[in-house]
């Protein structure tokens, strides 16, 4: 497993997961996808990952909360927030947690790849 290229994606929308996974795969990334924060926390080997693409609104534990916990954890992982909500408050809340990028759905492939690039530098 090429940890240099492993990207985690957490979104409760299967469509988003599938499309993101396809895109990243086409660009040569390894991906692991999860439908909830809880699923990710239990099943992901965080230390292998290059970055985390995390949806803000999730059923169950929210993306923001999960990101916050991750930021304070032993093994920090760069987070790229994605959201379908154009809410200003959400944006600022996400930024306060600390993130590499905050992407509004729908986002272009380039903006996502730029964000991953940036995350890789952060690492």
């Amino acid at each position: 497993l090429n940890t240099q290229k492993l990207v985690f994606v957490v979104d409760d929308d299967p469509s988003i997961l599938r499309s993101a996974q396809r895109l990243l795969k086409a660009k040569g990334f390894q991906t692991q996808v999860f439908v909830s924060a809880e699923d990710f926390e239990q099943n992901a080997t965080i230390s292998y990952g290059m970055c985390l693409i995390l949806d803000v609104y999730l059923s169950g534990k929210s993306g923001i909360e999960s990101g916050r916990e991750l930021a304070m954890s032993q093994v920090p992982l760069p987070v790229i927030f994605i959201t379908g909500d154009d809410n200003e408050a959400t944006h600022s809340e996400a930024c306060s947690v600390g993130c590499v990028a905050f992407l509004m759905k729908p986002f272009t492939a380039k903006s996502l790849l730029d964000a991953i690039e940036k995350a890789n530098l952060h690492r």
Partner: protein, 622 residues
Amino acid sequence: MTIAHPGLRAFLAFLIASLGPGALLAADRLPRSILVLNESAMVGPFYSGAYQALRSKLNATSPISIFLEQLELERFGGERYEKILKTYLESKYGDQPLGVIVAFGSAALDFVLRHRIAMWSGVPIVFVMVDETYLQRLSIPSNVTGRTARVKFRDLLSAANFVVPNLEQIAIVGDRWEIQTAFRHFKDEIPVVVTGLEIIDLIGMPMRELRKRVSVLPERTAIVYTSIFSDGEGTSYPPVDALGFVAQAANRPIVVAAETFVGLGGIGGYVLTPAPVGEEAADLVLRILNGESASAIPIAEGNVVRPIFDWRQMQQWGVSPSRLPPGSEIRFREPTAWERYRWQITTTAAVIVLQTALITGLVYERRRRRNAEVETRQRMSELAHMNRYATAGELSSSIAHELNQPLGAILSNAETAELLLNSPSANLEELKEILADIRRDDQRANEVILRLRRLLKKAAVDFRNVDLNDTVREVLEFLEAHATEHDITLVKDLEPHGPRVKGDRIQLQQVIVNLVVNGMEAIGDSQQERQVTIRTHFVDGAWVELSVADTGAGIPLDKIDHVFDPFFTTKEHGMGMGLSIARTIVGAHSGRIWVENQVGGGAKFRVKLPSTTASQDGSIAH
């Protein structure tokens, strides 16, 4: 002064008697008894009318003895008769003290003046019904006064002109002038007064012939009736009867000169009226009895002629009331329906008018209310529409989220497909999958738009049989994203036998949206249990209940009565219209909405609507 002692009274009576009947008492002591000498017989209504008026006027003050003698001078004449009459009166009234002698008519006055009966030499005389011209020929001694009767042929002529337009002839009917009493003077007056008219002189003609003549009179002729006392063939009768015989045959209207002739065949005219004659006589008698000297009362013209006409005769001869002289009295007018039933007609008309007014009022009120209802419904509909917009606004971030999800997936898929196509080893299978996904996500986005459009659609109110469960499901689908965003679980607990109600689907949806959104907002950030439960179930068979329960803090007791009031809100940005609109809509659906706090916490809104579901026993519950 009252004389109490019986002896003294007897003495005084003796004293007065011994003075003799001729001895005149002092003027202020005239005996309160009078003698009426009537020139004619009392059988005719004229004299009897005058006499009755005299009597009632005299007796109206204090009792006066009235003696009456009918001289019948028009029937019996001559020196011998008068002599007998004089003797008769002398012996009859020799011992009778009299205050005043009243002479009715010229002949009576003539008689009493010519035969100055000794015993009456000092008794004042009052006359009425004496013709003016006749009076001028007499020398009136002192102690005599009276009122002349002013029946002038000129008046009869004038009446004839009123009755017959373009009058050309007048036919004069009556007994020989010599035996006439009240109208004797016409003989001299006629040649003076009548000019430019042809006179058809029928005076003194026997009744049989007269009746033939009056039946063939030329046009533009008026008949003037004076008086007839006999048929000229030996039968005598009162003049009113004679008038009747003439009138039966006449082909032209008959102008008369006495009130009593009106209504018996005469059309009317300026007529002598008996009542004022009697009243004027009574006035003079009372003045004299009260001390006035008869000599001191000047002889004057009596006011006893009135224009009076017979309506029936007017109809017969085509005389319109407008042609009559002003101030005319019309007798025997058939009362019109209006005159006869004035009260009944007035009352009926009033009732009809009132009823009409009432009906008009009610119809107007009904229309007004209907308009108001329509307007209210329209306002409600507009407000409800605004409320839906507001709801959509509140939900806009969820809606955006719902749209952005598929759009995001589509964009990523499209760009991936581009990448794959540019690579040398394009995997066709994968491309097919991508396109299928794009299509599915596009469909998803479209559904969101459709839902939104349905919510915001400004549709006319459309009452149908609606499945309440379907309505709930549609709403929850719409609100699911919003609930997720706020980490709230929406729980459905729906009646298995799809409850149906009659209503407008969009409005019912709106009620549910408002209640669920309200429930979600009631759950604050701090609440551990985050759940809104939507339940439908039957109540008593006839009703469907929809309840929305939240796990919030419940409603404070002081506010529970106001939650449905318009503009009542506890939210910072709320309009306070949601629950108010919900209540209005429920009301329009003949339902009821109320709220209660649950035992375990949180509020529960309950809506009861009439069920249209076929109930289990097969009948339709309402």
